[in-house]
Amino acid sequence: MGELDIAQVVALSLYVSITATVLTSLVGLPLGAFLALKRFRGSWLMRTGVYTLFALPSVVVGLVVYTMLSHSGPLGVLDWLWTPIGMVLAESVLIFPLVTGLTMSAVSDVDESVRLTIRTLGASNRQLMMRVMHEARFGIFGAVMVGFGRAISEVGAVWMVGGNIKGSTQVITTAIMQQTQMGDFGTSFALAGILLIIAFVVFFVIREIQERG
């Protein structure tokens, strides 16, 4: 039985999840706030669409991204299949609706009167959005954390796009899956424990930064 390179597996899990979360948040947070604040033709449809995507199975995401990145697919030239960057793409697609939708929720929760106050004090539309997001920051923080949690716990999509290649595209979750398949429950539980500890540390560090900031 080959040796499981725990360091590689943990490092890649962290890399893929963090990168996907950062990228998704950069787009999803302003988009979510925008959809919550602005009423334009079709905005109701878009908001409902985002919530609907909450139910998107990760297997479907994996399959779609795989077909796109496959060498016989539209994005085959990128050569991103079986690589970490391909896994980042799959994870980003997966958690994007979640992060955007939860941000939408948090921003919608900000009282109408708060928005009125912001506007009457002279805010431009951009300043309004920034302040409302600031007011909704706990909910938005939650959205980002849910995104990260979902990303780091994903198995199917990263297996399909990454290939679970020993030594290069194996992550904690796919390693757990493989070890379990092989009947090695001990290693599986150990890996699961590591994953939870990592998640705890990440959340803890972010909270600390948030409290200080």
């Binding site: 009167s113 009125l116 009457t120 004090l121 002279g122 805010a123 431009s124 600031h134």
Partner: protein, 240 residues
């Protein structure tokens, strides 16, 4: 010196019966004008339209002053501000709240600091800067909101029942802060109230709104004596 305001033929509905019907209004530069009426008469809607926060379905609002002023929506809106009945505090310190409008306008931190401390002094809340605004009592929050409003030195102040939820000491404090601010800057004040006694205390001219229609406008004493059951009942304090 404050701006003069003129509104002509303002009508508004939210898809149902009209909230405002053909409202006309003239406020002189620097005066304290009251908009009176029972709840549901459309006063808050009118105020929001005057503050350029909402568009009327019909009619228009124009502003004038000692010099002629160009119509520039954003910049014009920044010369006015409104205080709500129940002011919303931001998730921030008292200082952060009062400084917000100033930061929007890109003022220097040093000037912001001066203006914030002065404004807090004007409402009797010196020393409150570091307090978390969401932990304040209703009266304190309302005073912070007032400080937040005057810190930006508006030329028009819209007050939507701004003392309706306060106890007498707080009411007195805010009314005197208002008087002091008017004294200092000559700003225009449009006061919405369902309390006729406060109106008579503070304003000389008013407009009486009932279910979106103007029943009377002009000097308060004249409006008070209008031959209309509803007006009479209102000024007696019976119509809320």
């Amino acid at each position: 010196m404050g701006l003069a305001i003129e509104a002509a033929g303002i009508s508004k509905s939210y898809g149902g019966p009209a909230v405002l019907s053909s409202v006309n209004l003239k406020v002189e530069a620097g005066e304290l004008f009251a908009i009176l009426g029972p709840s549901g008469s459309g006063k808050s809607t009118l105020l929001r339209i005057l503050d350029l926060l909402e568009q009327p379905d019909q009619g228009e609002v124009t502003f004038g002053g000692p010099e002629s002023i160009l119509w520039d929506g954003q910049r014009l809106r920044r010369r006015m501000t409104m205080l709500l009945q129940r002011s919303m505090m931001f998730r921030d310190t008292v200082f952060g709240n009062v400084a917000y409008g100033l930061r929007l306008r890109g003022l220097q931190e040093r000037e912001i600091r001066d203006r914030v401390l002065n404004a807090l002094g004007d409402v009797g809340l010196q020393g409150f800067e570091r307090r978390k605004a969401l932990t304040l009592s209703g009266g304190e929050a309302q005073r912070v909101a007032f400080a937040r409003a005057i810190a930006i030195e508006p030329e028009v102040l819209f007050l939507d029942e701004f003392t309706a939820n306060l106890d007498p000491p707080n009411i007195r404090m805010l009314e005197s802060a208002l008087a002091a601010y008017r004294q200092k800057t000559g700003c225009t004040v449009v006061l919405v109230s369902h309390n006729p006694f406060q109106a008579q205390r503070l304003a000389k001219r008013c407009l009486f709104l009932y279910q979106g229609e103007v029943l009377g406008s002009g000097p308060i004493d004249d409006v008070r004596r209008l031959d209309d059951d509803r007006t009479v009942a209102f000024f007696r304090g019976d119509l809320i």
